[in-house]
Amino acid sequence: MAIATTWRTKRQRYSLEGEVCPTCHQAIFPPRDVCPHCSEPAGPVHTLSGRGEVYSFTTMYNVPRGFEEHRPYTVALVKLDEGPLVTAQLTDVNEQEVQIGMRVEMVTRKLREEGSEGQIIYGYKFRPLLQQSA
């Protein structure tokens, strides 16, 4: 990822900063110029809750360059509670536990490092909801 792209997308990567459409009121992620639901201009910045569920998933054994250190890992299509679908790595999970419909929450983690001298890329991943005592 070029330094400029990394910089431009930091808010959406770190904290799921998306938009809400002023016309049809649907949540939009990632942010864009035109609402994908009604084709009107997209709206003001809106940070998503980060809660959602696993819509589908796959475990990766052959991984793209730069991610070798993390293999194997599970990538999921996560349906956020506000509606948008996002693709992200799952973390803090045993791959045997992952199932469709599993509740997950967004965490900000290291996505990869550009070698030991390059920049560190941070972004969203999802983990199973943290168990909280009642």
Binding site: S15, T108, R109, L111
Partner: protein, 350 residues
């Protein structure tokens, strides 16, 4: 000694973070001594491959924000104390500030003072809030400590920490009644630039280092406040192992029931800049209004910060607004030494 701030200051939100992996001391002993050595802790917390001081600070900060329920754009400083910042040059503070939505009208910087870096950030935050320069300051102490394989510190070098949002005392869940520092040039533990692992002077780290700062800092605080050990409901001090804090607190006149809630080192190891303050978060999870807490950190090099704290009625409303410290301690996944070596980058793959 530090004067009182112009305006009274307190903690308006707090949050902990501890990663989920645990390496038992028995496993380290198995590798290096066929089980003959006794570990000073039951186990220690180990970060995942995708975690570092920045990501762990972000989660602790989000927990503190969930409790404080303030607009992050009102935070005027994001200060992170650690000895394991991900970059040697480039602040962790800006990453955390961006992730929680505190940018751009904020100070953002990293503090360095071994295990006292987090409480140093809190002291500076008291100045910022107490002078009226800022309504809120976010001060964090967080570490992913590394011990040289086979070194005594490998048993205890853990990962975790805590975040505190400081603000006006009348909004606080805990009022900071007084703070002070006690420092000297004492070289008991250090790491030079470019070295991966710290070095330590085994015999020196106890008496002139740890006890030589923790005990006088606590004594000075009690003298200044006209307090006796029995006046505090909870006490928490830096925890490099179990033996040191227990010996120090006992020498000061405290009893096990006063330190029980904050003594986390047997479960998570020494979390360095996070050690004393993550203990404080565990106390705050169970503390009651009106209770009084003594917090004393210790950083090698060397120095202690002491804080006299009083819990307010507001604490009860915020305790459950974010995961509690024991929620993180309980989500433990035990790993073996091979997995640990991989997670902590101890394998040469290139």
């Amino acid at each position: 000694m530090l004067n009182q701030p112009v305006k009274p200051v307190g903690i308006v939100g707090y949050g902990a973070y501890i990663p989920r992996y645990r390496l038992p001391g028995a496993e380290i002993s198995r590798i290096w001594s066929h089980g003959a050595e006794r570990s000073p802790v039951k186990e220690k917390a180990v970060p995942g491959l995708d975690e570092d001081t920045a990501t762990m600070s972000v989660e602790a900060a989000r927990n503190a924000l969930a409790r404080a329920q303030i607009d992050p754009r009102e935070i005027r400083a994001v200060w992170i104390g650690s000895e394991s910042h991900p970059y040697a040059v480039k602040p962790t503070g800006t990453i955390v500030a961006e992730a929680i939505g505190a940018t751009p009208a904020t100070q953002a910087a990293d503090w360095q003072f071994a295990c006292k870096a987090g409480t140093e950030a809190m002291q500076a935050g008291i100045g910022f809030v107490g002078s009226g320069m800022a309504r809120y300051v976010l001060a964090i102490g967080m570490d992913t400590a590394q011990g040289r394989p086979g070194d005594a510190l490998e048993y205890t070098a853990g990962a975790g920490g805590a975040a505190f949002i400081l603000g006006p005392a009348d909004e606080a869940v805990v009022v900071i009644q007084r703070s002070l520092s006690y420092v000297s040039d004492t070289t008991d533990f250090w790491r030079r630039p470019g070295s991966h692992y710290p070095r330590h002077a085994e015999r020196f780290s106890g008496d002139p280092g740890y006890f030589g700062h923790v005990i006088p800092a606590a004594e000075q605080m009690m003298e200044l406040m006209g307090a006796q050990p029995g006046d505090y409901d909870h006490v928490v001090v830096h925890q490099p192992n179990v033996k040191f804090p227990v010996r120090a607190m006992r020498a000061l006149g405290f009893r096990p029931e006063q330190w029980q809630a904050g003594l986390l080192v047997p479960e998570i190891g020494n979390t360095y800049a996070g050690s004393a303050i993550v203990g404080l978060t565990a106390i705050l999870d169970v503390a009651q209004p009106g209770q009084r807490i003594l917090l004393v950190s210790y950083g090698s090099g060397a120095g202690s910060d002491a804080f006299d704290l009083r819990v307010t009625e507001r604490l009860l409303d915020v305790q459950r607004r974010a995961p509690q410290t024991w929620d993180y301690i309980r989500r433990r996944v035990v790993i073996d030494y091979a997995t640990y070596a991989r997670l902590r980058g101890k394998l040469a793959t290139t």
